[in-house]
Subunit: 384 residues, 2 copies
């Protein structure tokens, strides 16, 4: 199969920042692309060969889109899987496959998959509706605190809430959900695994994540994680087991907890490029977006080692600011060593919205960490 400067056409469902960064790689290799997104202001609108406006959950839209491409991938899980199943039946290649999407798309299904396969994960209870949780607490069936997670459509910190008291349930949507035991973890870790359509399997180094306490969004992603080598190996082993069991094609980002007694638990996974892998654009021999393209096209997978230490800082909208975006003090961070900002191109900011990220690379991890702190304290995503 010839992909480069050819008639081959790759379809991408979703036109956000992940799609935008995938398009750097398709441009680099002159692979034709067609992208669908519901927003006329999607970051992917330019740099693809063809852009289609469409609801990713609409059966007809997704099906018709898929009929016009040679291979279909996603940059967001919330897509119409029934349409993808029909496309698969009709011979269209869909990576990740719908069987992987079915496991992952619904967080309750995903958790059941782990327990069914003996994969370590935090204890949880599934509820058909959030409203059932109060009864369960009253009956003594569920102990506070716990983490409430919507089974479907969680993204960007939405769909997840720490519940410390019954009142914290107020205002949550009355949907299928899980209540998960709060893990008093030492570290949140992640491992990105790539599996190609020819079965080749590679993993990136373990990264360490720090979350914003309120917004439940990653503040720093640090590669390599500053943890014991044995723990890192355990994290990689678990990630590879998850990957083999799911049998995906493309990337799988595996988020993990390192418990106080150094056990590794799977938190959740995403079958696509992931926020925890953005550091790879500047730090790795093969960045995660190129790796995803290699994997789904059945090309040999690239070297996952890092050239230098990498730290990623998310650029999220400041609290109290909604409207046309301005990036304050960009010049100051560009004056720091080894700093690369990525601006996704969303015109409107709002509190905690992911507007971009900044990567800091250095031969020396301690120095990178210092600069990352300076970046975080300097740049501000505000409205005009």
């Amino acid at each position: 199969m010839n992909f480069f400067s050819s008639d081959f056409k790759l379809g991408i469902l979703g036109g956000g920042q992940l799609g935008k960064m995938l398009l750097y790689e398709t441009r680099k290799w002159d692979i034709q692309t067609k992208v669908m997104d519901p927003s006329p202001e999607a970051p992917c609108k330019i740099a693809c060969n063809e852009f289609v406006l469409g609801d990713l959950l609409d059966f007809e839209k997704v099906y018709n889109f898929g009929k016009d491409v040679d291979l279909l991938t996603i940059e967001i899980e919330n897509v119409n899987v029934e349409a993808l199943e029909k496309l698969e039946e009709e011979g269209v290649k869909v990576y990740p496959q719908t069987k992987a999407l079915r496991i992952i798309q619904n967080k309750a299904t995903q958790k059941l998959f782990y327990t069914d396969h003996g994969i370590p994960t935090a204890p949880f209870v599934r509820f058909a509706y959030t409203s059932e949780i109060k009864d369960s607490i009253a009956n003594g069936g569920l102990a506070l605190p716990f983490v409430w997670k919507s089974a479907q459509f969680g993204y960007d910190g939405q769909g997840v809430k720490v519940v410390r008291a019954v009142e914290d349930l107020e205002g949550l949507p009355n949907v299928e959900c899980i209540a998960e035991e709060m893990i008093a973890f030492k570290n949140e870790l992640a491992v990105i695994v790539a599996r190609s359509s020819s079965g080749e399997l590679v993993n990136y180094p373990v990264v360490e994540m720090e979350f914003h306490p309120e917004a439940n969004q990653v503040e720093y992603v640090i590669c390599p994680a500053r943890i014991d080598e044995n723990v890192a190996q355990k994290a990689i082993d678990v990630a590879l087991i998850v990957s083999e069991n799911i049998g995906h094609v493309g990337l799988l980002a595996v988020e993990l907890f390192q418990t106080q007694d150094d056990k590794i638990l799977v938190n959740e996974v995403a079958p696509r490029p992931h926020n925890s892998g953005h550091y790879s654009i500047e730090a790795s021999y093969t960045n995660q977006f190129e790796q995803h393209i290699r994997a789904i096209l059945g090309l040999p997978l690239g070297k996952t080692d890092s050239k230098v230490a990498g730290i990623m800082v998310n650029l999220v909208g400041a609290e109290g600011h909604t409207g046309d975006v301005i990036y304050e003090n960009m010049e100051s961070i560009l004056d720091m060593q080894g700093v690369t900002p990525h601006i996704y191109g969303k015109k409107q900011t709002r509190p905690f919205r992911k507007m971009g990220h900044v990567t800091i690379v250095d031969e020396d991890m301690a120095r990178a960490r210092e600069v990352a702190q300076q970046v975080k304290e300097t740049i501000q995503v505000v409205s005009k």
Copy 2:
């Protein structure tokens, strides 16, 4: 000035591979762009915000294009400078400035500039027409062999020819030209200098270039050059003197000869991103395209150090092949460690046409050089 996700619009004259790689950076920072190129199949046609078909040497086209942007830059020198001068007079920022373009665009003027400023360069004679050269040889005014260079419009190995006998002049265009003494150099080197509109000046490490003997195109660019430290420092010193004298804003790629007795001579310069800096995408802390954007926007310049050793191999069309392009053995080179192909997106190949490049990076230079050789021996740019 606010450039990021704003109304600011950057104009780029030329839509080839250099423009295409500049657009990765404008996309990364969400800077609006408008590109003009004469070809409807220009590699820049997608990924800019606006594409205009137009002859870069047409006064009206260039002038009207410039009136619609906030800042104008180039990815090729062969543009209508009169139009740029009028735009400058009317307050449009043009980087590189027309005074720099005027010096560089004509190779005879460029050479005279070096001698006027005491900058070491190979001896040369200027001719108004190629036809005058025969007389000069007959009179004993010019000795064989020499290098014939068209004063204007040389690109991609065209416009340059080694003349060893009078017959070699047959078929050359009868244009303004220079005859330059052939330098028995030890090495061809290059140094990229960036100068920002605020006057900040930085240089990349010295790179070493190997040319294809017939096509006069670079085969390998090696960073850092495997030369003595004193020679490298001398090369950097000369490049900085050239840069300061020209007073450009943006990048200046300075090509140099290292003579047998380790003198440094300036060969020629280009006021834009350059083939000799492509390695920087994978190897440097700040790649040359981002650096050019930083320089012309007056942003702080980025760190020019390398993370790892880098070697670049040009992908040029194989001899005997003209037509729809195919990249043979791409999978084999993707299976090698630290290898990143860049495919420019030209649909038609022809002998020696620059179709892409491949970067090889490794912590170890010797290993990178071995892999580069394998890449060169493996991939073939042929027609269907």
